[in-house]
């Protein structure tokens, strides 16, 4: 063990090491008392590169995008053909923030693309780029 286990001096008033008969609240059922530090890869992606999100992923090239963002067969009624090129991180960011539709894209199709991007998960093409747009800071 080392100095980190000892009571810190200074600013940490009302520290946690049980001072006897301190009152402890178990909290409201909905409150959160555990936050786990996650890797800041998303931050990295945003800060060191210019990224892109293929819509849809390359292995589904040619598929249409339904208004809810799901990938459907080409020609499906009510769905939109994919954009002619991958969306850049900047374009996706603008769309996610209800900004202007990027040049060359149909506004309704763009909304379907946004929904597709929202459904991206780790392991899918474009996810690191999407994650980098989601950073709170």
């Amino acid at each position: 063990m080392d100095e980190r286990n000892e009571q810190p001096g200074g600013e940490a008033g009302g520290g946690l090491v049980p001072s006897r008969r301190m009152v402890l609240a178990l909290g409201a059922a909905a409150a959160s008392t555990v936050v786990t530090v996650r890797p800041a890869l998303a931050q990295t992606a945003g800060s060191v590169m210019h990224c892109q999100i293929p819509v849809p992923a390359p292995q589904n090239a040619g598929s249409y995008i339904a208004p809810d963002g799901s990938v459907v067969a080409p020609g499906t009624a009510g769905a939109f053909p994919p954009p002619p090129r991958p969306l850049t991180g900047e374009e996706a960011k603008a769309l996610l923030n209800h900004g202007p539709t990027p040049a060359g894209l149909d506004p309704e199709a763009a909304q379907a693309y946004v929904n597709y991007i929202r459904r991206l998960q780790a392991g899918m093409s474009g996810f690191t780029c999407y994650a980098s747009l989601q950073m709170p800071r």
């Binding site: 786990t36 996650r38 890797p39 849809p56 992923a57 292995q59 589904n60 090239a61 040619g62 598929s63 799901s70 990938v71 459907v72 067969a73 080409p74 998960q121 780790a122 392991g123 899918m124």
Partner: protein, 335 residues
């Protein structure tokens, strides 16, 4: 084949030759590209090295230790999720080597968590994982159907908080591949690890590693997978003189003798793995496999484009009969 990849295999085999390395930067780039940087660093531990090289190897050893802890933790979280079911959960590949403390785990990169469970338990395993925070990583319904009907594993799942993938296998090769390994026997003969999880029996571990390398993929990352086989063979055969006969019999039982035999020959060729004299035959395709595995240059780039494409096509042919392959490619093309 390239000098950098050959130098890498040579140095892994005989770390004492570190003094002969002329271009460490090229060697490290090739090792990183082949996911062998941590392995190389552990092999070179204790060998006199130039100071800057030694520091880089220390960094790589530290990084591989983090990888090991994270992989074992992911296995533990899967164990906690699946423990109430009471079904045997067999760890596969890197996580299994780490959990069993095998030499193959030293410095090894470990990505996804791979587990093998009885086919009949799949629905409850799937439910338990979904309840414990894992989610589907699916691009669309065709992929999902394809996995469920033809593959040897569930569609991949990812944990929503930890961002780690799990592959849940019910056998070790795609259902469409010609060899039909006896997954039930593999599970029945697996050994308890002491942490509530299981690992394949030694011979089955080699059979699986060989099937994965030779009979399934396109040999991308082949040097790392072949290094696993070298370490496993040396370890198991060194402890048990009867291992070779057992391995041959077991490989035959799973219809994977050809893959095991080829993997052993390649390991002998590239990593000087001691194998029985009678196993050392000449095979006209071995040089192609060898060249494919060594297709990595000192900038970390893949070389031998045509050869790689050939192995890519082969990997698809191995997985499916031609008619099914045609249907699969057509469905992909239509989308």
């Amino acid at each position: 084949m390239t000098a950098a990849a050959r130098e890498l295999t040579g140095l892994l085999t005989d770390p004492a030759r570190a003094g002969e390395v002329a271009d460490w930067t090229a060697l490290v780039s090739a090792a990183r590209a082949e996911s062998l940087a941590g392995t190389l660093a552990w092999r070179l531990a204790g060998v006199p090295l130039p100071r800057e090289v030694e520091r880089l190897m220390e960094d790589a050893r530290r990084a591989s230790e983090t990888v090991r802890v994270e992989a074992l933790w992911e296995a533990e979280m899967a164990r906690r999720a699946l423990a109430p079911l009471g079904v045997p959960v067999v760890l596969l590949k890197g996580t299994a080597y780490a959990a069993a403390g095998l030499p193959a785990a030293e410095g090894r990169s470990i990505g996804d968590l791979d587990i093998l469970v009885p086919a009949r338990s799949l629905p409850e395993v799937e439910r338990a994982l979904l309840a414990a925070g894992w989610e589907w990583v699916k691009e669309d319904a065709y992929d999902d159907l394809y996995y469920r009907r033809w593959m040897h594993e569930l569609p991949p799942l990812i944990h929503r908080a930890r961002d780690r993938m799990i592959d849940v296998h019910h056998t070790i090769l795609p259902l469409t591949a010609r060899p039909k390994p006896d997954a039930e026997a593999m599970i029945a003969d697996s050994a308890a690890l002491g942490n509530g999880l299981r690992a394949l029996a030694p011979a089955d571990m080699v059979v699986h590693a060989s099937a994965h390398l030779i009979a399934d993929g396109d040999l991308a990352g082949g040097l790392r997978n072949l290094w696993d086989i070298d370490r496993l063979l040396r370890h198991f055969a060194g402890a048990d003189a009867g291992f070779w006969a057992e391995l041959q019999a077991r490989a035959g039982h799973h219809r994977l003798w050809r893959a095991v035999h080829r993997a052993a020959r390649l390991a002998n060729d590239l990593y000087a793995t001691p194998i029985p004299e009678s196993w050392r035959i000449w095979d006209s395709a071995d040089p192609l496999f060898r060249a494919r595995m060594l297709a990595r240059d000192g900038w970390g780039r893949q070389t031998a484009r045509g050869l790689r494409f050939g192995f890519y096509v082969r990997s698809h042919l191995l997985r499916m009969p031609p008619l099914m392959l045609a249907r699969h490619l057509l469905a992909k093309a239509r989308r």
